[in-house]
């Protein structure tokens, strides 16, 4: 490790080897910390400091409310601006961790007299926590392997696209802080298991509390940890340390989690949390048996006792669970949980979950895209973990394997798997490089010292082989080292490229290349939302598909019928039904919902493909799921979805079609094409003479991406 010739040159600053190592480690960590932050700033530099996508706008709006009105108002906030006429109890239906965190950072900065805007705090929260995650990854890696693996893990996770996808600047979502909280909780728990100290157990309970307050993904923790404990019990690794760690973490964590209103008594009432409780009781039985075994000297007697106890426990547990389920005290699993265990479940039963693109099963390409070399370093890391099994490595292996399964089920859960993949890959990299370095360094020193210094136990066997063919192996090791270096640099370039190209677009502002290579910006969303904000009555109700609900309330400051918090399927289905009905039927529905404006997103002029026409079949499906009058085949021709002349008559006359294509037939979108040529779908539309009876065009943005219609008051009867 020591670098004595170099140290000679710097005699006045001569440091001890340990100090040198510390200096290098600290400076690498600092650099990684900065790197993790700045690599996420692409979107700020390329666009502006703004909130991205859909859900972050709700978080931003609530954070704004929290900073302006204080915590108690926030906690008791009844939001009548969404889900009209139902409203939403915001304080009781969100995870407040993110907002409270951002508000605290904001308060702290203002206390230190940094007059920043709350928006800047929100925009930079995710990168900040990503930086903190790298530190946690370092300590976690250090805990399960060694400090080298920790450093590599920190570097890998700092730039891993799987994590960056949810933590770029502006992506102000729960996941941004939750991955930090998740990894931190795991780290503290593993630390507690390794030390058996109550303090670490307590810390992990608080980590768990933070995680519960931040994201619904805490269910993963509360299921993975018992699973891990169970595996340790089965493999005979039960210890007092485990007992202390788990009981402390579970009981305190549960009590703390109950303080979050959205979670409430779910820890004792919901099926998803029963595993943890079962394992808790199991541990008590285990401990009890251990104690009895210790007290009883007769093994036969103990065997009999064991049989009785186990039968009784199983029976009591089974009965309790059965009674709880039947009486409805324990709620069954939710749809999302089911769809995790059975990927086809959502597609058949809950179209609203299936309609979200990030709930789709993951394609292979996106694994490659998000993990790059980690994808094959992961199995290698698993190999190293199995070679040096300990409580900690078992944990990381289990975390890695389960989260990889979930990542395969849902695209968005790649995020959860990322820390595990990075840690395990870091073990692979670190162990490999260390082995290779030992090989190389054995040249200058006696072979014996190298082998005694080798840290991994598996090294001893390879040392014997090394002695026989030293020169060849040294070159091989050199080549392999370069190979590792090459792969890692490829990884770095890939990550930067992915971050810059794929994950740094705010999706509110669209950018395209113009004919002369210049950058063209489509800022239509904000144009429309700002128009709504300024030029409609303050109590106007806007109907749109639920995707845009959060944005309309946050940027347009107007009441919406449905939004991205898809808690009421019937309400969404009503909107879906209105969109897929004929205009006069839809008018009745809109009148009953007090709708003043209807907002649709239309990409036919710009060729923007994620517009409402392309989402329309989901509206039909969701609407049809509740109202059987809406039938999907009515909108299809021979099972094909089309908007041109050959489209189904119902399709050509439904409200969504009319609103999107109203007066589109007069417009020439592309040179050499007939008027009414839809660039997003590449066809000439089938109904160019759209007449509206009950609605009128109120506003259309400059690139036609957002179109807003006003619902006319009913005609006088005479």
């Amino acid at each position: 490790m020591s670098n004595i010739p170099a140290a000679d040159l710097l005699k006045p600053f001569k440091l001890k080897t340990k100090q040198q190592e510390l200096l290098i480690r600290v400076s690498i960590l600092c650099l990684v910390y900065i790197l993790a932050f700045i690599t996420r700033l692409f979107s700020v530099l390329r666009y502006e400091s703004m909130i991205h996508e859909f859900d972050p706008y709700f978080n931003y709006r609530t954070t704004l409310y929290l900073t302006q009105n204080g915590f108690y108002d926030f906690w008791n906030w009844f939001d009548y601006e969404s889900w009209y006429p139902l409203g939403r109890i915001v304080g009781g239906t969100l995870y407040p961790g993110l907002m409270v965190t951002a508000a605290l950072i904001y308060r702290l900065l203002h206390f230190l007299r940094f007059a920043v805007h709350i928006r800047e705090v929100c925009v930079l929260t995710a990168p900040f926590f990503a930086s903190n995650t790298t530190l946690v990854a370092y300590f976690f890696g250090k805990e399960i392997w060694d400090s080298g693996a920790g450093l590599v893990a920190a570097i890998l996770i700092a730039v891993c696209p799987g994590y960056i996808s949810r933590s770029v600047a502006g992506s102000y979502d729960n996941e941004g802080v939750a991955i930090f909280a998740l990894l931190f909780t795991f780290y503290l728990f593993v630390k507690a298991v390794n030390t058996g100290s109550l303090a670490w157990g307590l810390a992990s309970a608080f980590g768990y509390f933070y995680m519960v307050s931040a994201w619904g993904g805490y269910v993963f923790i509360i299921n993975l940890v018992p699973l891990y404990v169970l595996v340790l019990l089965i493999t005979g690794r039960y210890s007092m340390r485990l007992y202390v760690a788990y009981n402390c973490m579970y009981i305190l964590g549960m009590l703390l989690a109950m303080q979050i209103r959205f979670v409430g008594f779910q820890h004792v009432q919901s099926g998803e949390h029963m595993a943890a409780m079962g394992v808790f009781f199991l541990m008590q039985v285990f401990y009890f048996l251990d104690w009895v075994k210790h007290m009883l000297s007769d093994t036969k007697l103990f065997q009999a006792f064991l049989r009785i106890t186990v039968t009784c426990t199983v029976a009591v547990g089974g009965i309790a669970l059965g009674v709880g389920m039947v009486s409805g005290y324990i709620s069954p699993w939710t749809g999302r949980f089911y769809s995790l265990l059975d990927p086809t479940y959502a597609k058949d039963n809950i179209p609203i979950i299936a309609s979200v693109s990030e709930h789709q099963p993951t394609a292979w390409s996106s694994f490659m895209f998000d993990y790059h070399i980690l994808l094959f370093l992961f199995p290698a890391g698993l190999y190293f973990c199995f070679k040096r099994l300990s409580d900690a490595t078992i944990f990381i292996v289990m975390y890695g394997l389960t989260s990889m399964y979930f990542a395969g089920v849902m695209v968005r859960l790649i995020l959860v798997a990322t820390p595990a993949v990075c840690l395990i890959s870091a073990i692979a990299v670190s162990a490999t490089v260390k082995n290779l370095a030992v090989l190389l360094r054995s040249k200058s020193k006696a072979v014996q010292t190298g082998s005694t210094k080798g840290t991994s136990s598996g090294k001893a066997s390879s040392k014997a082989a090394l002695d026989q063919s030293q020169p060849f192996q040294k070159n091989g090791a050199m080549a392999l080292l370069f190979g590792v270096f090459y792969l890692l640099s490829k990884y770095a370039t890939h990550c930067t490229w992915v971050t810059s190209e794929a994950y740094s677009s705010p999706s509110i502002v669209l950018a395209a290349r113009g004919a002369h290579g210049n950058r063209v910006i489509f800022d239509d969303y904000r144009e429309a939302y700002f128009w709504l904000r300024q030029n409609t009555p303050p109590d106007a109700k806007v109907m749109s598909w639920w995707d845009y609900g959060y944005q309309i309330t946050a940027m347009g400051n107007r009441t919406v019928i449905v939004d991205n918090n898809t808690w009421n399927n019937t309400h969404i289905a009503t909107v879906g039904r209105a969109m897929s009905s004929y205009e006069d039927e839809a008018y009745e529905i809109m009148r009953s919902l007090d709708v003043d404006y209807v907002l649709v997103v239309f990409g036919g002029v710009t060729g923007y493909s994620s517009d409402d026409i392309n989402k329309f079949l989901w509206m039909v499906r969701i609407g049809g799921g509740v109202f059987p009058v809406i039938k999907e085949p009515d909108y299809l021709v021979n099972g094909e979805y089309r908007v041109d002349k050959g489209a189904a008559p119902k399709m050509l006359n439904c409200l969504m079609y009319k609103l999107c294509y109203y007066r589109f037939g007069d417009l020439v979108t592309e040179y050499g094409r007939p008027p009414g040529y839809d660039r997003a779908r590449g066809v000439e539309i089938g109904n160019k003479d759209v007449k509206l009876e009950h609605l009128e065009e109120a506003f259309t943005t400059s690139n036609w991406i957002v179109r807003i219609y006003k619902v006319k008051p009913p005609n006088n009867r005479w």
Binding site: I521, D523, R526, N535, E697, T701
Partner: protein
């Protein structure tokens, strides 16, 4: 004569634009106007009236003060009144600005409000003098019809009097009204009345007694942008490190005929000459030269549609709201920019510093209903005082910005009804010791120092209980 006029006024005929000349120090009849010519320019939404008056002192005592008066209906709309006297002989006449002050008279006929003009040299008996009065009226063009569709053009009504309302005898008077286009729907005839092209001529009228009015109404097309800034807050922050940061918050509204019914984008895009003619897409802001780091944004983010053209004498910022402003539509936005401090901050002789900056709104041809200027002085400055060439409301505030401990003093100036005429300079004087500039760097340095000391201490102290 007076009674019927009063009756007419109270019948809300809204008589406009009458000028009175009253000499307080001498009997009213002592002064008379031998010739009055009024030119009213209606081509934009700010009504500009130029009045050329020849005043004669028919009394025996010299007169040094002359009263201008306006009917109450105009009082809220009157943005500025200026009087200019020409001095010198024919060849090299220079215009001298005369002092004008609002005055109250107890028995004002027609609820008139008065302005006093203070003559530079008293007008002796028998003498006569000529001077010009310029006044501007805001929000005086009433859209009629009040709501128009996208394809219609905007028609407005202007109400005034053909005769100059005056307590004095006016021997001869003429009024010219200039409309932006020859498209005049109708106008009241008070013979002799002539119309040629874009100009309507009322008069000449001979020998009208005091307080004569003759209401007229002109209904014409005016498609110029009715850009009104309902509220503008300009914050000028002085940093003695060399920067002047200006932040301007606008609430812009199209104050013309309200838009009614459909807004069709396809029509607006394909036929710009015939649809939405009264709407406007962009505005020009004239900023000081050497402006840097200009931004243009609103509550929900940056607005990408703006262009800055800068040269050595001026900078022009073309700003385009997110959407075209049709009648009655609103847009709020913020413009911010930095300026080099040495262009605006000077040291006065008595050891004080003063900021010399323009009052008024940088947007061309706009009316500001309420303008607030906040001059944020650096932390530690004392005795602020503002010098503004016209009456404004003033008070002080405290603002906390980056690394402020005691807060910065803010001089707040407020004025209602501001027109481009008000873009003159004002000064804010204050005392500032340069040593205060070092407060913030020293604070930061000591904070970091303490942090490192804490780190070193932590690394060298063993706090564990067990050994």
């Amino acid at each position: 004569m007076e009674a019927p006029i009063r009756a007419r006024d109270t019948l809300a005929l809204a008589l406009f634009s009458l000028l009175f000349f009253i000499c307080r120090s001498s009997p009213l009849n002592n002064l008379l106007i031998s010739n009055a010519e009024r030119r009213i320019d209606l081509s934009s939404h700010i009504v500009k009236a130029y009045l050329t008056l020849k005043v004669e002192n028919a009394g025996s005592t010299p007169a040094s003060e002359i009263l201008l008066a306006f009917p109450l209906a105009q009082a809220g709309h009157l943005a500025t009144v200026e009087a200019l006297a020409s001095k010198g002989k024919r060849k090299k006449t220079t215009l001298v600005r005369l002092e004008v002050k609002p005055t109250e008279l107890p028995d004002a006929p027609n609820d008139a409000i008065y302005f006093t003009i203070y003559l530079a040299n008293p007008l002796n008996s028998g003498e006569s003098t000529t001077f010009e009065v310029l006044y501007m009226l805001t929000r005086s063009l009433e859209p009629f019809p009040a709501e128009i569709g996208q394809s219609e053009s905007q028609l407005v009504i202007y109400r005034d009097s053909a005769l100059i309302l005056s307590p004095y005898h006016i021997k001869q008077q003429t009024t010219f009204i200039k409309t932006p286009s020859p498209k005049v729907e109708s106008f009241t005839r008070v013979e002799p009345t002539n119309r040629a092209g874009t100009e309507i001529k009322y008069g000449p009228y001979e020998d009208r007694p005091p307080y004569s009015v003759s209401p007229i109404l002109v209904h014409f097309e005016n498609n110029s942008p009715f850009a009104v800034v309902e509220e503008l807050v300009r914050e000028v922050e002085i940093s003695h490190w060399g920067n002047l940061q200006v932040t301007e918050k606008y609430t812009l509204v199209h104050a013309g005929a309200r838009h009614k019914g459909v807004f069709s984008r396809v029509d607006y895009q394909s036929r710009p000459s015939s649809t939405g003619v009264s709407s406007f897409r962009y505005l020009l802001a004239r900023l000081p030269p050497r402006v840097h780091s200009v931004y243009y944004r609103d509550e929900i983010g940056n607005i990408s549609s703006s262009h800055l053209r800068a040269d050595s004498r001026k900078s022009e910022l073309e700003i385009e709201p997110r959407y075209p402003l049709l009648g009655g539509w609103k847009a709020t936005f913020v413009i911010g920019y930095g300026l080099p401090l040495q262009d605006f901050l000077f040291e006065s002789t008595d050891d004080r510093r003063y900021l010399n900056f323009t009052f008024g709104c940088p947007l061309l041809e706009t009316v500001v209903d309420k303008l607030t200027i906040k001059v944020v002085l650096p932390e530690g400055s004392k005795d602020p005082s503002a010098v503004v060439p016209f009456p404004v409301e003033q008070h002080l505030e405290t603002k906390y910005s980056y690394l402020d401990v005691v807060g910065r003093t803010v001089v707040v100036l407020e004025k209602k009804n501001v027109v481009p005429m008000h873009n003159s300079h004002f000064q804010v004087y204050y005392i500032f010791k340069p040593i205060f500039m070092l407060a913030e760097p020293l604070m930061l340095a000591s904070a970091f120092f303490l942090f490192f000391v804490a780190c070193v201490a932590y690394l060298h102290i063993d706090l564990s209980i067990r050994k």
